[in-house]
């Protein structure tokens, strides 16, 4: 997998369509794709396979194909019945997805930006989330939420709101960091019988490419992945920050042996993999792009404080966005976000403790 630095000033996702993706038929083969292309590929694969899968959201249909062009060409291939432009009413169209899912359809709803997921909040946290627990009827939808910042989009186009949903019983939450997982987790999410929120990282859309298995490739929900092995310290992270963490670890090669756990699924959390790694290394840095305060990282650190206590040789360091809205101007946003330098510093500090 080739990484190019994030935040290059490229107008991420706001302009160009992804290059047309050739989906190889059948399994076995691989293709190099961007993260964005992998998402399109997953959707197309599932829509070809299962007539119950449909996509809906703002501006996703027609020649336009969505704010980030993920569904470009979809209406042409699948028809207006399965590719539905909605008015600007998140509460209403997530609600409609609830009803469709109850009837056995598999709607994949696009939020134009993850930031607008709060507008459909009740339909998600009050209706879909507790439904199976309450009366046993599954609500198998997926909400795709283009999240994360670093791309000068300001407080309302840069949010990482996953903690709200991890705290809410009944939702599954995934956040891929690679093209292969972007495809594999989306296919798994569509096939899952539960409501799944799929956080895709906008800064990765076109900045990373990687091998992606063709055809029906799935990544299991609920399984973290060790993306770098090491012995002295564990970084627990997910999403775009996986790449910042890998870069930091590379930079510290020879100085600290860093293991990196990419959570991939935020709920249900793969506590086994996290605990095994930290029990092995004895040191942990937890980091994500979302606001640090009461974020998902707090849950990880709390887990370690309770269940890896005897193995810990240093305080659990925790990094994340500051406790402020995501500011727009480059110097402010850079100060706001965790990055390679800040991660490097936290690893060093924790390793030396």
């Amino acid at each position: 997998m080739k990484r190019s630095p994030a935040g290059t000033g490229e107008n991420f996702g706001f302009s160009d369509a992804p290059s047309a993706t050739a989906t190889a038929a059948g399994g076995g083969s691989e293709a190099v794709m961007t993260y964005l292309e992998a998402i399109s590929d997953a959707l197309r694969t599932e829509m070809r396979r299962d007539p119950d899968v449909l996509v809906m959201g703002e501006d996703i249909a027609g020649s336009f194909g969505g704010a980030f062009k993920v569904t470009k060409g979809f209406e042409e291939e699948f028809g207006a019945r399965r590719v539905i432009n909605t008015p600007m009413c998140e509460q209403g169209f997530v609600g409609a997805a609830n009803g469709m899912a109850l009837m056995g359809l598999r709607p994949v709803v696009e939020m134009q930006f993850a930031d607008f997921i709060s507008t459909g909040f009740d339909a998600i946290v009050q209706y879909a989330a507790p439904n199976h627990y309450r009366w046993g009827a599954p609500v198998p939808w997926v909400i795709r939420a283009p999240s994360d910042g670093g791309i000068r989009s300001g407080p309302f186009h840069s949010q990482n709101p996953e903690a709200w949903f991890v705290h809410t019983p009944g939702l599954k939450v995934v956040a891929p960091s690679t093209p292969a997982d972007a495809k594999g987790l989306l296919i798994s999410a569509i096939r899952d019988d539960n409501p799944v929120i799929y956080f895709e990282a906008k800064p990765l859309y076109r900045s990373i490419r990687g091998e992606v298995p063709s055809g029906e490739h799935t990544t299991p929900i609920g399984k973290a992945s060790i993306v770098r092995e090491g012995t002295e310290l564990t970084v627990v992270t997910y999403g775009s920050i996986v790449h910042q963490s890998l870069a930091a670890a590379d930079r510290l090669a020879g100085e600290v042996s860093v293991e990196i756990v990419d959570l991939r699924t935020l709920k249900p959390l793969d506590t086994g993999t996290v605990l095994a790694s930290v029990r092995k290394t004895g040191r942990a840095v937890v980091v994500h792009a979302a606001n640090r305060l009461a974020g998902v990282g707090a849950e990880i650190a709390a887990l370690l404080a309770e269940e890896a206590f005897e193995y810990l040789d240093a305080p659990v360091a925790r990094l994340g966005g500051l406790d402020t809205p995501v500011p727009f101007s480059p110097p402010l946003e850079d100060a706001y976000r965790p990055d390679q330098a800040k991660i490097t510093e936290a690893i060093r500090r924790t390793a030396r403790f």
Binding site: P87, G92, G95, N98, G99, A101, G104, H132, Y133, W135
Partner: protein, 307 residues
């Protein structure tokens, strides 16, 4: 209607005796709406009834035993003790979708149900229920607007009972009727006397028919009065007593039974027998529920996710 009334009265009695768990809603005044509309659906259709639609649950085949057991938090209740009173009393095998407290969510769910019928080209209809209060929520408008765009096979039943909890209509909206709002959003609407079960049923059946045959969504506004408090705890002292007196004369159950007698369709003996059977069914349901098991606390964490 008689069963709805009897069961509702029975719940009130239970709670007054301190045998209830949590709260229970009152149905009185709404029987003709829930029964008249519910009866207009085919078995294959799907309804999303609310807290005043006990009649619809019953008519769709949810048994009093399961309902009372749910009210009392028992394992044999529809939700197995997980959700309260009629909340969450959904059963897809009966074409009933359970509601949540965030009431207007029902109408958007029903829209999705209707859209799924259209998606699969099935001649089925979704029927949803909402109160006057619920129609002041934005979501109600989002749904009517989308339903009109998609010509979804959806019937929206508005139960305009002049109050949202303690809040009278004039504090909720300018105007007295919801129908014009529906029309403006592109959903043809009709106002009907909610205390006349025949009128409700005729209008509902016609709406269902038009919707089923591809005519796009319809709204039916049934006007009535909530005759007791919002729920068991509420004495509804805020309702002018004259208003209740006036509406009491138009009790939907009494009206209908009188009409049946007047038109010679049934005799008093039939009504007496039917009332007796309703009491029997209700008492059986209570006895069943009260003697049935509490849910197993060891299973409290099960079923959050579908397997």
């Amino acid at each position: 209607m008689r069963l709805t009334r009897t069961l509702d009265d029975q719940m009130i009695a239970l709670w007054k005796q301190g045998r209830g768990v949590g709260g229970t809603f009152n149905q009185r005044g709404h029987e003709a709406i829930s029964v008249g509309t519910g009866a207009a659906l085919a078995p294959d259709d799907v309804a999303t009834p609310l807290h005043r639609d006990l009649g619809c649950y019953l008519i769709r085949g949810m048994t009093p035993r399961r309902i009372v057991a749910n009210q009392l938090g028992r394992a044999a209740g529809v939700t197995g003790g997980r959700d309260a009173n009629l909340h969450g009393c959904g059963d897809l095998t009966l074409g009933i979708v359970g509601f949540i407290s965030h009431i207007p969510q029902s109408v958007s769910t029903a829209l999705g149900v209707a859209m799924s019928f259209a998606y699969r080209n099935e001649p089925r209809v979704a029927m949803t229920y909402i109160g006057d209060g619920g129609t002041t929520a934005g979501l109600f408008h989002e749904v009517l607007n989308m339903a009109a765009v998609h010509r979804a096979p959806l019937v929206v039943v508005v139960e305009n009972n002049q109050y949202a909890y303690s809040t009278p209509l004039h504090q909720q909206m300018a105007g007295q009727n919801i129908a014009p709002r529906s029309e403006a959003l592109g959903v043809p609407a009709e106002v009907v006397d909610g205390n006349d079960v025949d009128a409700v049923h005729t209008a509902a059946a016609a709406a269902v028919e038009r919707v089923r045959s591809g005519g796009g969504p319809r709204l039916l506004e049934a006007r009535t009065m909530r005759m007791l408090g919002h729920a068991i705890h509420d004495g509804a002292e805020y309702v002018p007593s004259g208003l209740l007196e006036k509406w009491k004369k138009r009790d939907p159950v009494v009206l209908y039974e009188r009409k049946l007698l007047d038109e010679g369709i049934v005799d008093q003996a039939y009504l007496d027998e039917s009332a007796r059977r309703c009491r029997e069914i209700t008492e059986d349901a209570v006895a069943f529920a009260e003697s049935s098991e509490w849910p197993d606390p060891a299973a409290v964490e099960e079923g959050v996710f579908a397997p």
